[in-house]
């Protein structure tokens, strides 16, 4: 099998799930004839027809609401946000309707909301967001943010089969930049499980999505200085794989968290609390974090590069932490 991009892996997951189960339908803007803004759903309409590939007006609230209604009859809609930034338009529908139904009145909403997220492509302040934490803060939602084609495919398939609403973030910087050979046979990747991308003994770097690759590059730099960093890919932010985080901290005794989301209210703060509550005595240094700035995502390349974390920033923070 030839290696495929993350975009193609996601596309394969959608096709395979729609082949497997006619209860799986797709709904969103421009996902049919045009194949979606990023061509993730290319060919979907031809294969599954307009009853299963539903092109909608520009109405994010109506799209998510309708998908929720469909899920009540046992369908498993895959919603595409053209850019995940636009999920802000249906915030109420997602957080108050979709997320709370199971807790309040026992109504599971098996649906996936997926869309391209993240910066680094000069998309500007409204096409580069990482809004995952608005939703990680909402009980009832699951948050998935993969970093590799293999994971993207396997996690999306698990998300479709999950009985809960899953927000599936697809980092657009990674869409076509990385390739991976995928197994010919069917596979899934479980939600809520982190994975160790690189073993190390000196320091733990926790990350996800595009920053996972930045962290791996930084770890390679650090290795030249004799610092062996363990890199853990969270993959799912909600539920969070607390066991994997704590196990690595207990092993390396030092924790650096790297995310592309802005700093205040990012998952790093939550993880820092978690580690303080559960592994304080295992720490040999302060919990460090490298994140984007607390600003909107700026447009000009010089500004955006300054805004985002990069290998040098991660490596510098790791070196400082390693000195403790």
């Amino acid at each position: 099998m030839a290696p495929v991009t993350m975009l193609e892996a996601i596309r394969q997951a959608i096709f395979e799930e729609m082949d497997r189960d006619p209860a799986v339908v797709a709904i969103g803007e421009d996902i049919g004839v045009y194949g979606g803004a990023f061509k993730v759903t290319e060919g979907l309409l031809e294969r599954y027809g307009n009853e299963r590939v539903i092109e909608t007006p520009i109405s994010e609230t109506a799209i998510v609401g309708a998908a929720c209604g469909m899920s009540y009859l046992g369908l498993r809609p895959i919603v595409e946000m053209q850019f995940i930034d636009f999920i802000a338009c249906c915030f109420n529908q997602v957080t108050n309707f979709v997320a709370k139904g199971h807790y309040l009145w026992g109504a599971p909403a098996p649906m996936v909301i997926r869309g391209p997220s993240g910066g680094g492509v000069h998309g500007g302040p409204f096409h580069s967001a990482n809004p995952e934490m608005y939703f990680a803060h909402t009980p009832g939602l699951k948050i998935v943010y993969p970093s590799t084609p293999y994971d993207a495919k396997g996690l999306l398939k698990s998300a479709v089969r999950d009985n809960n609403p899953v927000l599936f973030f697809e980092h657009k910087f990674l869409y076509r930049r990385i390739k991976e050979e995928l197994p010919a046979e069917e596979y899934t990747v479980p939600l809520g499980k982190a994975v160790t991308r690189r073993e190390g003994r000196d320091i733990t770097i926790l990350s996800y999505a595009a920053m996972m690759h930045t962290s791996l590059e930084a770890a390679a730099e650090l290795a030249k200085d004799g610092i062996e960093a363990e890199v853990i890919d969270l993959r799912t932010l909600m539920p969070l794989d607390k066991d994997a985080i704590l196990a690595s901290v207990k092993k390396t005794n030092k924790l650096l968290i790297v995310h592309e989301d802005t700093r205040t209210g990012g998952i790093a703060g939550e993880i820092a609390s978690l580690v303080c509550e559960n592994a304080f005595e295992d720490l040999d240094g302060p919990i460090a974090r490298v994140t984007s700035l607390d600003t909107p995502v700026p447009y000009a390349p010089t500004l955006e590069e300054h805004f985002l974390p990069n290998v040098a920033k991660v490596a510098a923070a790791a070196r400082e932490l390693a000195r403790y």
Partner: protein
Amino acid sequence: MSPSSNGAAVTPVTRQQCLDLYYYMRLNRAVEDQMMKLFRQNKIVGGLYSSLGQEAISVGTAYALEKRDWMAPMIRNIGALLVKGVKPRDIFTQHMAKYTSPTQGKDGTSHFGDLKNLHIVSPISMLGDLIPVMTGVAMAGRYLGQGIVTMTWIGDGGSSTGAFHEGLNLAATQRAPFVLILENNQWAYSTPVSRQVPVRDLAERGRAYGITSVTVDGNDAIAVFEASRAAVAQCRAGNGPVLIEAKTMRMKGHAQHDPAEYVPKAMREYWEARDPITRFEKYLDANKLWDAKAKQEIEARIAALVKEDLEFAENSPMPPAELAEQGVYCEGCHTIEAEWHRSKAEVTPPKSSIEAGWHVKDFGGIEAPLNSGNGASEPPAANTVQQYAGKAVHESVGRAVQKSSGRPVQQSSSPKKIAAVPERRPFGRGPKGKRGGGR
């Protein structure tokens, strides 16, 4: 009295239907009267929202639904819940936050539902969100071949939310079998409808989306029922959605805490003289549809039911504190399975496969007749579910138009097909091997 908007012959409302309508309106009022007492006894944990004066709408609309149909009540639609099969005890326990309530005390008021048996979707407090949700239920029902119609309610106030408009437009473009009841009760909390919407009839809002929209006297149970029955039939025939504006008056404040002193006295008196239950009693008398004995029997039946269910609610425990931690996620507690009433093969390749491409009617040109539709692709031309199932949305025949003198002209008498859309070439960066190797 009856709109019969689809031109169908109107079936008369039977005596039994009249008595049912009366029973549910009276039960609606009796349940709410009882809850007012509970509120004064401090036994209602949160707010209490009265539907006094609006019973004919809740009851007359929901009574037009079949068992298989789906509905989502708003906060004042106690009558609709009762018609659909909810017991008074569920409403009492819900308001009293009891463990035996449908949400086990996790939410109050009419915020509960029943996916499996009664087909009720729970509302949330944010207005308008049910419209897209019930549109989705309607679309799923059609997809699964269930032949269902869905219904929800919205107030005059809620008709200004974004979700209302997004949802109604989606329902319209999908021709969803969905009935929206717009209860114009004159007040959004303390603001009169004239300050919220600059049109007299809120049914205009439905017409703006190109859907059948009617206005009825919301305090006339027969008129409401007949309009709803026609709307449900129209939707079931594949010609939805339908909006019904029912004009009425909220006879209490927004909730119990609100004395509604902002309501002009003469306005209140105007509507008091039009109380739907008193009016319906007169109708039953005038048409000799009942006698004193029948009335007494109904009253006795209601009194006994309310008493029994009140006792149940009062004797129910509050939920155990630990329940607060449970149920955020479905962790295998529900089995989710769609109920198929059509062959899955119809929606599975190769049968589901179509040629993708748009056919744009009249090319959106200005010469086209101005009232010839929305100019975009035809929405599903669904007269029946089966017909929809076999039909490609993306196919519609364009019309040739004569060009002359720059004025709108008549359509050509000999419509001809526009050329087939050439096969779209994939965008340069698209995945390789589309529709073949990659898949």
